[in-house]
C-alpha cells in the first residue's frame, strides 16, 4: 500500500538514486534492488538523494548497511544528501553519521566525490 519510488540518474562516474515516499520493510526490497543493480554494473560512486523521502524505518537503514562494505571494498562510497530533519533524526539515533557522509545538497555530495578523486590522484 505504501507509496515509494526510486529514480536513477548518472552524472559521469556518479550514480544518484532519488528515493521518495515511505521506505519501510515493505518497500525496502525495491531500494535494495536498485542498489544491487548499480553494484552489478560496477558503479561504486553512489549518492542517495533523500529529498522526497518522507519516512524511513530500520528496514530502510538496513539496506544502507548491507551494501556499504562492498562499495568501499571497490574504492567507492555511498553518500547521502537532502534528508529532512525527521528522516535524518532516525539515521542519527542509530549513529549513521559516523559511518556515512551526509550533505545538505546534492551539489555538495558530488563535489565531495570530486575532491576525493583529486586527493588520490
Amino acid at each position: 500500500m505504501d507509496k515509494f519510488e526510486v529514480h536513477r540518474r548518472d552524472i559521469e562516474e556518479i550514480s544518484v538514486l532519488n528515493i521518495q515516499g515511505f521506505l519501510d520493510a515493505h518497500t525496502a526490497p525495491e531500494f535494495e534492488e536498485a542498489l544491487q543493480k548499480l553494484l552489478r554494473e560496477k558503479r561504486f560512486k553512489i549518492i542517495v538523494n533523500l529529498e522526497g523521502l518522507e519516512y524511513i524505518s530500520s528496514a530502510g537503514l538496513g539496506v544502507f548497511m548491507g551494501v556499504i562494505e562492498d562499495i568501499r571494498n571497490h574504492h567507492g562510497d555511498l553518500k547521502i544528501c537532502c534528508a529532512n530533519p525527521k528522516v535524518f533524526k532516525v539515521f542519527d539515533l542509530l549513529g549513521f553519521p559516523s559511518l556515512y557522509e551526509f550533505f545538505d545538497s546534492e551539489k555538495e555530495a558530488v563535489a565531495a566525490f570530486a575532491n576525493q578523486q583529486n586527493a588520490t590522484q
Binding site: 520493510a25 524505518s57 539496506v63 562494505e69 532516525v90
Partner: protein
C-alpha cells in the same frame, strides 16, 4: 466528593501478518496520537516505534511456525497523560534479554543488517516492556507520555 472516572479509551486493530499493512498501522496509531495532542515530532516517533514492533512480528514471529491465522494485533489505550500501545503475536517468541544493543561499527564489519528495531523502540518510547509466552501471546508494551 465524587470519584473521578479515569478517561481511558481503547482502540484495537487486527490485521494479516503482511508488510503491506505497515502503512495502515502507522496511520491508525498516528491519528490517535495526533488527536490526543502529541506534537508532530512525537507522533512520528510513535509511528516509527509501532512500525518496528510490527515489522518484527511480520519478519520473525511466525517463521517456521505452522498456524492458520497468522495475525498481528495492535491495541492502543489513551489516557489523559499517556498513550499505551501493545503489539501482540502468537508466534514463537524470543528472549528480549538476550538481544544486545547494536554496535554500528561492528555491524559494518560483519555486513550484518538489522538488530536495530528493538533499539529504536527503546530510544523512541518512554517505557518498553516485553511479555513473552511462546505460541500463546508475545507482547511488546510501549508507553509514551504527553509532555
Amino acid at each position: 466528593m465524587t470519584k473521578k472516572k479515569i478517561k481511558k479509551k481503547k482502540y484495537q486493530l487486527r490485521l494479516p501478518c503482511d508488510s503491506e499493512n505497515l502503512d495502515l498501522i502507522r496511520e491508525f496509531v498516528g491519528k490517535i496520537a495526533a488527536s490526543m495532542g502529541f506534537e508532530e515530532e512525537e507522533v512520528h516517533k510513535i509511528e516509527l516505534a509501532v512500525d518496528e514492533a510490527s515489522t518484527n512480528v511480520i519478519k520473525h514471529a511466525y517463521k517456521g511456525v505452522n498456524l492458520n491465522n497468522k495475525s498481528l494485533l495492535i491495541e492502543v489505550f489513551t489516557y489523559p497523560d499517556r498513550l499505551e500501545i501493545n503489539v501482540t503475536d502468537r508466534g514463537k517468541g524470543f528472549d528480549p534479554g538476550k538481544i544486545k544493543d547494536p554496535d554500528i561499527k561492528h555491524y559494518l564489519k560483519k555486513m550484518k543488517r538489522g538488530g536495530l528495531g528493538l533499539y529504536l523502540i527503546k530510544s523512541l518510547m518512554d517505557q518498553v516492556t516485553y511479555n513473552i509466552k511462546p505460541g500463546v501471546k508475545n507482547q511488546v508494551k510501549m508507553i509514551k507520555y504527553l509532555s
